[in-house]
Amino acid sequence: MQIFPRSLNKLPLLVAVVANLALVGVVFVFWYWLSPKNLVMGYMPTQPVPYSHRLHVGQLGLDCRYCHANIERAAKAMIPPTQTCMGCHAIVKTDSAKLEPIRTSWQTGKAVEWVQVHRLPDHVFFDHSVHLHAGVGCISCHGRVDEEEVVKVQVPMSMGWCLECHRDPTPNLRPRSEITNMTWTNDGSFKPPAVNPPQNCSGCHR
């Protein structure tokens, strides 16, 4: 007397296949879907003023340091004060509706509420000045900002990603004069110096 139909013989196989697929799925979820590659990359919030880096940097050719002025001296990159915007926009496009928040800020003294795009966890102490001094260009972490209409995160900004470069910084180094250059490539004439970035915990966590 056969209680179970013959077709059930395939059940263990089916279970095995489904279990394996589920496992792969779970691994995928954690490996990719929950990783900074998915969670961090591509973050592109809407800003109160639709500031276009493509226009200002790509077409007008402003240097990054015109606005992010203290980047070579301080840890923080600094979002420019309204004053910097008004330096030009007191004369240029004075009636643009898009610039209304800037003019309001200038008149009231209240800050423009920019949305932070590149954000590191609170226990990470990143210093812009020392990276720039070592010859790491803006492009290495921020990508081709000059082609972006809206700024978005182009790299994972995970600890593994940081460490990749800290272990071997040479591909990301360039002459200090070219750090803000978005199109610089090494034609072989530049020999990267040894910069010895830290790979221990307290290098970034304090």
């Binding site: 001296r73 840890a75 309204t82 004053q83 800050a111 932070q116 102490f125 210093d127 915990c201």
Partner: protein, 1027 residues
């Protein structure tokens, strides 16, 4: 499973060295103390408490698991896109302001009648850390614990946020209108019914405005009161020299210092300067030095100064006077000491004092005479004025005045004796002569002499105006309360005791709309209303410099923090009026001998809360008292013999009473080294009206303090109540199992055996576990000189401010959960329980090269850096606490609860359950604020190291020695801590680490610590032992 017993070290056991003990209990029963130290949950009470669920907070284990699961799901959902954070740049950027780069401004602060110059670190306009100004003679770069903690006072959440009148909130405009109306009455009768009560001041602007008030309203009067004043010293100098002068002892130059009831290393005026000079005078760079200073201390209770003495005698405070007379008599017999002027006075002495061994008179006199011109007799500020005068006469006769002791004109020659002055005020109130009383700072209802009944008197005054930090005992009884601006919020100025002028610069606009004393006084006198204008006007008025140059002087003065050449020149040796000194003693009278039923009570300034004004500062409340190690409480200290006679144990609550005064209940603490038949109480505790932290903490002893006994008095009685009080104290915490740790010797022994310290800490007998690492780049190290450390606790608070260290509350301290990264261990030495010498040792993480903590971390959260730092990655820590267990130095601290404030209600204790927004403003943005469940410890201030390294890379230069300074090193007034790169042969730390008396803590374990201790050298006089 058997527990491995701590090993016994042969060298230590066989050595005839004195035994070390941390508490009387430990000495009596070392086995119990050891068991307590090794238990995870020491003390039965805690184990019982742990069974109660409320300890784990409002959420129990099941609730947590349930809530945790849903929270985990939410977290998965939530982290898909992190919360939106905004960046708010300035609209119009301030000049020279770079976001992320701290700015330091020079300012000055008054503490205990002396000015301390400061450099304050500001992050985007938010002061976060106070450091000493190296150019300022009141600081020399050092600070004290209270100054370090005053940054938290600025952010006190309980500061009042506006004027109040009749129990209702009001506006400054209301007060100004009220005052305007009053001014009419003032002008009509020349201010006859106006009285101002202020604290003694060294501020030229304050004094100028006071004189302006006297000129405008000639009938008005200004009184001074502060519970812990320098009035006796002033009066003593006035008796001796005929005019009020300040005396400053150069402890570096003085080779013999006799401190009589004077805690000049902690609670007396000018402690920072004194500590720096004292430590420099005793600094030994090698065993070849020819000699070092010697400190003799006679005092009733153990103080920091007593702990640093080479010879210490415990003596009731009232016996100091016969002692000094006997010493004077002895000195007068020596050749070349002319004391003929006061001969009739010295003739009254028998030349011997009960309880004082004869050699304490003879040998001390020998030394003072030998070291003529390089000695100093220092008398404590609670001793009567006549004793100060006598000391001046003796110092003058020994040629010390003008050499070791500088004399400077008083900043305020008109200042009166505080007790007499407040008495006059209360008498005037009784006589109905006061209609308006303006109280500028101070808290007289709480701290005025009990016999004056100030609260009752204040009620009789129709209009009372009180300017204070928060609504306190006085403010709540006044018709007007006005918020006082913090020193970091307003302009002001201060002179040091030697006259150096420094300007107090504001770091931040008043957070709660407060105003300073000078601004309030200016409202009455009609001067310009802002502090800036007032201070500028003072600088201008006292100067003959042309305006254009004055502008330069002003700017340079602000920049440097002192006005160069403003310091008064020392007046040189002054003539002592011998007759006046003799007359001053004519009123002395004999009294009943001291006995257990006739105790002497001494009122001591609290090293933390001072007179009570810092009572709402959790850093200071939690700081363990230097000697008793009690946190969050004060206690009445009695000697072991007196405790035995009265049948008391530590923690017993007694009724302390005095004839002619009220009585108070207070727990007793048995303190070795306390004079028999005396009881010492610290004032400043038991505040009834203050903020959330300090209200009702400790025991108020001001009710016992009357105007005739501001320092000490006999006739005190102690009655057992049968109650006991839990005193949370840390003296047995973090025990190191009786191994040789704080190593000391005498100067003679040191010269014979320069390497004495290494004998006790032999090289490891074990091979290293791993291949030793070669440190090629920087090799950070620290040297702590036990000979210099005075145990003032400045480093402890500086570390707390720099590294965002939590306060945990009394309950958690009792559970061994204090969070200090650096602690000051205090050991008693020897068999004698009545007057044991003390060893002091600051201990922080020693950054072992072979760190035991690293090997046991299952998640690699603590790892070694190539520069030899024992790094701690908080975000990786899962809280197994294996590392803390395996640390032989017991320097790792675990966040058992959300000590830095989680979401409201997440922890049961109000201390950190709901952390105020203002408190968060103090956090150092360069250091992670740790959460519940992670381990933390000293990092050698790695944020400062990284900052220094980055700056050097940016500027393409090597790191200079002393460029990177840890917070503890910076704060240390004794220069006991030196930090730097051991691989740089020119660095101070490399040189110090090579000093012969250096040793590594528990070196025999093979941990290779980076911190080197320099053994303590005592300098006793061999003649004392021969008797």
């Amino acid at each position: 499973m058997s527990k491995r017993q701590p090993y016994e070290l042969d060298v230590a056991k066989n050595d005839a060295a004195p035994i070390f003990w941390k508490s009387l209990e430990q000495k009596a029963d070392p086995a119990r103390a050891r068991a307590e130290a090794t238990a995870e949950f020491p003390r039965a009470a805690i184990a019982a408490d742990l069974a109660k669920s409320d300890l784990v907070g409002p959420v129990g284990r099941r609730g947590f698991l349930f809530g945790g699961m849903s929270a985990a799901l939410l977290a998965v959902e939530g982290c898909a896109r992190r919360p939106v954070e905004n960046i708010l740049p300035y609209s119009k950027a301030p000049e020279y302001m770079l976001p992320g780069i701290p700015v330091h401004y020079a300012t000055v602060r008054e503490h205990r009648g002396e000015a301390i110059g400061l450099l304050v670190e500001n992050h985007e306009g938010r002061p976060t850390k106070i450091e000493g100004n190296p150019d300022h003679p009141g600081s020399f770069g050092g600070t004290d614990a209270i100054t370090q903690a005053s940054i938290l006072e600025l952010y006190d959440p309980d500061r009042s946020n506006g004027p109040r009148t009749a129990g209702k909130e009001a506006k400054w405009e209301d007060f100004e209108a009220f005052l305007k109306q009053k001014s009419v009455a003032f002008a009509a009768d020349g201010g006859a019914k106006l009285r101002v009560l202020m604290t003694p001041s060294n501020s030229p602007t304050m004094l100028r405005l006071r004189d302006a008030l006297a000129a405008k309203l000639p009938q008005s009067k200004v009184h001074v009161w502060t519970p812990l004043s320098n009035s006796n010293a002033r009066e003593g100098a006035r008796i001796a020299f005929g005019k009020p002068v300040n005396t400053i002892v150069d402890y570096r130059f003085a080779r013999v210092v006799l401190a009589l009831d004077s805690d000049f290393l902690q609670t007396e005026p000018g402690m920072v300067r004194a500590t720096r000079l004292f430590a420099r005078g005793r600094k030994l760079r090698s065993s070849h030095e020819s000699g070092m200073g010697r400190l003799w201390v006679i005092e009733p209770s153990y103080t920091n100064t007593g702990a640093n003495a080479d010879h210490r005698l415990r003596l009731a405070a009232r016996e100091i006077e016969p002692y000094l007379l006997a010493l004077g008599k002895e000195l007068s017999t020596r050749q070349g000491v002319d004391l003929s002027q006061i001969a009739p006075l010295l003739a009254t002495s028998t030349g011997a004092v009960d309880g004082v061994p004869p050699q304490w008179i003879k040998v001390v006199a020998d030394e003072l005479v030998t070291m003529r011109g390089r000695g100093a007799i220092v008398v404590g500020s609670r001793q009567p004025a006549r004793l100060h005068a006598l000391a001046h006469a003796l110092n003058a006769a020994l040629g010390n005045a003008g050499t070791a002791i500088g004399t400077y004109p008083a900043n305020d020659p008109a200042e009166r004796d505080v007790a007499a002055d407040i008495k006059d005020l209360t008498a005037d109130i009784d006589a109905g002569k006061v209609e308006t009383l303006v109280i500028l700072g101070g808290n007289p209802v709480y701290d005025a002499p009990a016999d004056l009944k100030f609260a009752e008197k204040l009620a009789k005054v129709p209009t009372s105006i009180h300017l204070a930090h928060s609504v306190d005992e006085t403010g709540s009884k006044c018709t007007w309360h006005l918020p006082r601006a913090h020193e970091l919020e307003t302009w002001g100025d201060q002179r040091t005791l030697d006259g150096t002028l420094a300007v107090q610069q504001p770091m931040i606009a008043p957070l709660f709309g407060g105003r300073s004393e000078i601004e309030l006084l200016a409202l009455v006198t009609g001067d310009p209303p802002t502090g800036y204008d007032l201070v500028r006007a003072t600088v201008k008025s006292g100067s003959t410099i042309p305006a254009a140059v004055l502008e330069q002087t002003w700017k340079a003065g602000l920049n440097r923090g002192i006005f160069a050449s403003s310091g008064n020149r020392s007046l040189g040796p002054m003539e002592v009026v011998g007759g006046a000194v003799v007359t001053a003693f004519s009123k002395s009278q004999a009294s009943k001998p001291l006995a257990p039923d006739n105790l002497e009570i001494e009122f001591a300034p609290d090293p933390k809360l001072f007179d009570g004004r810092y009572a709402n500062n959790p850093w200071l409340l939690e700081l363990p008292d230097f000697m008793t190690k009690i946190c969050w409480d004060n206690a009445a200290c009695i000697s072991p013999a007196t405790a035995k006679a009265l049948g008391l144990a530590s923690g017993d609550v007694v009724t302390l009473s005095r004839e002619g005064a009220a009585h108070v209940e207070i727990p007793v603490w048995i303190l070795p080294g306390q004079a028999d038949n005396t009881v010492t109480v610290n004032v400043g505790w038991g505040r009834t009206v203050t903020g959330r932290y300090g209200t009702g903490v400790g025991f108020d002893v001001y009710p016992l303090r009357t105007s005739d006994a501001l320092g000490f008095a006999d006739g005190a009685k102690v009655q057992k109540t049968g109650k006991t009080w839990l005193l949370a104290q840390t003296q047995e915490h973090q025990s190191m199992e009786g191994r040789p740790i704080a190593i000391d010797t005498t100067f003679d022994e040191y010269r014979r055996h320069p390497n004495f310290a290494q004998f006790k800490t032999p090289d490891p007998k074990v091979l290293p576990l791993w291949k030793p690492v070669e440190y090629k780049g920087h090799k950070w190290g620290m040297v702590i000189d036990l000979s210099s450390c005075t145990g003032c606790d400045a480093c402890v608070i500086a570390c707390q401010a720099e590294n965002n260290i939590a306060t945990v509350g009394k309950d958690q301290v009792h559970r061994n959960r204090e969070m200090y990264w650096i602690r000051i261990d205090r050991y008693f030495l020897g068999e004698d329980e009545s007057n044991p010498p003390v060893a002091i040792q600051p201990v922080a993480c020693v950054q072992c090269e072979e760190a035991p903590c690293e090997n046991v971390c299952p998640v690699n959260a603590t790892a070694h850096s190539p520069e030899g730092l024992n790094d701690m990655a908080y975000n990786r820590c899962i809280g197994t606490r294996y590392c803390a267990n395996n640390c032989p130095y017991k320097v790792r601290r675990f966040n058992y609860l959300e000590f830095q404030g989680g979401p409201t209600g997440s922890t049961p204790d109000t201390l950190y359950g709901d952390i105020p927004e203002t408190r968060k403003m103090q956090f150092n943005p360069d250091v992670t604020v740790r959460m519940r469940g992670v381990m933390e410890k000293c990092t050698y201030c790695v944020q400062r190291i990284q900052e220094g390294k980055i700056a050097s890379k940016r500027d393409e230069r090597p790191i200079k020695d002393h460029e990177i300074v840890t917070a503890c090193e910076q704060a240390c007034p004794a220069e006991a801590i030196v930090f730097g790169d051991l691989n740089d042969p020119t660095s101070r730390v490399a040189k110090y680490a090579e000093i012969d008396r250096g040793y590594h803590l528990l070196s025999e374990l093979g941990t290779h610590p980076r911190t080197t201790y320099l053994g303590k050298i005592r300098n006793p006089n061999p003649a004392m032992e021969q008797g």
